[in-house]
């Protein structure tokens, strides 16, 4: 079996009296694509934030490729070679697409190589026509795509995405699934997502969160067919 690239042991996050993430054990192997789903407040976003270092968990441990990263800040996590996309789009609005992606590439590459890398990523993500447009002027779908570009440019071995398909059109979502499928060739990918259509289209293993804990973990089709999941997740939604 492939190497475990991300593991949490007993990960717990309390906000005052509320336990948002309760004793979560989670394992992800190299090359795997995993979606985290669950109703609002199930703890998946909190889990994501604890793993990326945006929050410091109140208990438990996080390991990435054997490093214990519990309590690290996002910069340290990213410096390990982990690509992160937060829920709120985080981009440098005053700079153009090329500059944005160049900066992500420059973190791990020398100046000229970063230039080449940026152009390559732009081509791969079909951002060519807007390469010199500044981010502030782009549409939401394009911005999401650029942010994926930032993640890709760092050549990560682990990618953590929080709702990459949120608010996107059907076309954009389709393109997004292609990009993510391509990512899995070199990296393990974790996606927090609501959009079931999108999750089906990338057909991955799914971890279902419910009330802060992991309810089940299986292939998306079997998860969708499971009565308990239907009850807590889909039932509530309808």
């Amino acid at each position: 079996m492939a190497e475990i690239v991300l593991e949490t042991a007993g990960l717990t996050m309390r906000f005052g009296g509320v336990v948002a993430t309760d004793n979560v054990d989670f394992k992800l192997r190299a090359g795997e694509l995993r979606c985290l789903i669950g109703p609002n407040g199930a703890g998946k976003s909190t889990f994501f934030k604890c793993v990326t270092g945006l929050l410091t968990p109140t208990g438990g441990q996080v390991f990435m490729r054997g490093h214990e990263t519990t309590g690290w800040n996002p910069r340290q996590v990213a410096a390990l070679g982990v690509g992160i996309k937060t829920q709120v789009p985080n981009l440098m609005d005053g700079l153009d697409v090329h500059e944005n992606i160049w900066m992500a590439a420059r973190r791990f590459l020398p100046m000229q190589d970063a230039m080449r890398k940026a152009s390559e990523v732009i081509e791969r993500l079909a951002l060519g026509p807007i390469a010199r447009t500044e981010l502030g002027r782009l549409a939401h779908g394009e911005r999401q795509r650029v942010e994926l570009g930032l993640v890709v440019a760092g050549d990560p071995w682990l990618v953590l995405l929080d709702e990459p398909a949120a608010g996107m059109s059907a076309d954009d979502v389709e393109r997004m699934s292609d990009i993510i499928r391509e990512m899995t060739r070199t990296a393990a990918v974790v996606i927090v997502e609501h959009d079931m259509q999108f999750i089906r289209s990338i057909a991955s293993t799914v971890t279902v969160f419910h009330q802060g804990a992991v309810l089940m973990e299986d292939h998306v089709d079997r998860v969708m067919a499971d009565p308990t999941v239907r009850n807590v997740y889909l039932g509530k939604k309808a």
Partner: protein, 345 residues
């Protein structure tokens, strides 16, 4: 980078040489010298604020620290060379410490403003209260409100009796400003400078890419302080006395006004703003009809309300519109720069 060395550097040097040649025909070199020094001071804040998004309410602290460091060191050492270096290094070191404290504590915006303002006040209050004979550093008495007069002014290195003053001092300051300008231009073209702009635009994103934002901001802050300190050292030489007023809030306010009026996010804006407004103040100082402070205040309010990008970007876009060059308008709205670091998420 190639076009920088091939085009921008020669062009800048030619323009600067022309200005250095022409300006003394219109304004006396004594006045011009101080305008250059203020230009350098404005430039120091323009760098960290306009390109790094760090709004420092206490840039005057580094200016004053540079001036005092020079004065104290010059009295103790005699030759001006080492004091001049110290005038750059001491404020830079001080800023590095202060910056590390602030940026590793993730203070942003208002809190940054409060701390820099308060530190300036502490220095001002402390230096003002050092009138007593017990406040001595080496041979130099700090002198409280009266400041420190009578120190060794700039001399040819190693020859303490060959003073550089008058016209040569003007050329000295002009060349120094040119060198600083070119160095900063190069810095902004480098990866460091471009990442600094990225931090201004979105600190969180740059951190998520794996860059050490706190360290980078601290370094940029220290570079700004070094330039302000250099300006302070030059100012001490020009005025031949240093007083606590160098640290005053009024001085800090003026530096900020220079940057806004000149234009943030440009290199030349803060220099033009500083020299222009300082000259205006000099001209106004010769009349007593309207109070100087009142006018400065009105200028600041009007610019914030009606021309928040400042003069240089406004003129530049006007130029482009009238001459129809198909280039993009200046990208970085000053409003966004000013509140840099305020983003959440």
């Amino acid at each position: 980078m190639a076009s920088f060395w091939a085009k921008e550097v020669p062009a800048t040097i030619i323009v600067a040489a022309l200005l250095i040649w022409i300006m003394p025909m219109m304004i006396g070199t004594y006045t011009l010298t101080v305008l250059l020094i203020y230009g350098m001071l404005g430039f120091s804040l323009g760098l960290i604020w306009g390109f790094g998004g760090i709004l420092c309410f206490g840039q005057a602290a580094f200016f004053g620290l540079g001036a005092y460091t020079y004065a104290i060191a010059a009295i103790n050492i005699g030759d001006s060379t080492i004091p001049m270096l110290l005038a750059v290094l001491v404020p830079a070191a001080f800023a590095a410490l202060l910056g590390a404290m602030m940026f590793y504590g993730r203070l942003t915006d208002v809190y940054l403003g409060v701390i820099t303002l308060v530190v300036t006040l502490i220095l001002f209050k402390f230096i003002s209260s050092t009138a007593g004979p017990e406040y001595v550093i080496g041979k130099a008495r700090l002198g409280g409100f009266n400041g420190i007069p009578g120190f060794q002014t700039l001399n040819v290195p190693g020859r303490p009796n060959d003073y550089i003053y008058g016209d040569p001092y003007f050329y000295f300051c002009a060349v120094l400003l040119l060198i600083v300008y070119l160095l900063v231009s190069w810095l902004l073209k480098s990866s460091f400078g471009r990442v600094a702009v990225g931090i201004r635009e979105n600190e969180v994103r740059v951190a998520l890419m794996g860059y050490d934002v706190s360290a980078r901001k601290t370094v940029l802050f220290a570079i700004g302080a070094a330039i302000a300190g250099l300006a302070g050292g030059l100012f001490a030489n020009w005025g031949e006395i240093v007083t606590p007023n160098l640290f005053s809030l009024g001085q800090s306010a003026e530096i900020i006004i220079w940057c806004i009026v000149g234009g943030l996010g440009t290199r030349i804006g803060p220099i033009v703003g500083a020299a222009g407004l300082a000259y205006l103040k000099f001209l106004l100082g010769q009349q007593s009809m309207i109070d100087n402070t009142l006018l400065t205040g009105i200028i600041l309010v009007l610019f914030v309300l009606f021309l928040p990008k400042g003069l240089v970007p406004a003129i530049a876009s006007l130029w482009r519109i009238s001459f129809g060059q198909r280039r993009q308008l200046p990208r970085h709205g000053a409003r966004r720069i000013r509140s840099g670091g305020a983003r959440h998420g």
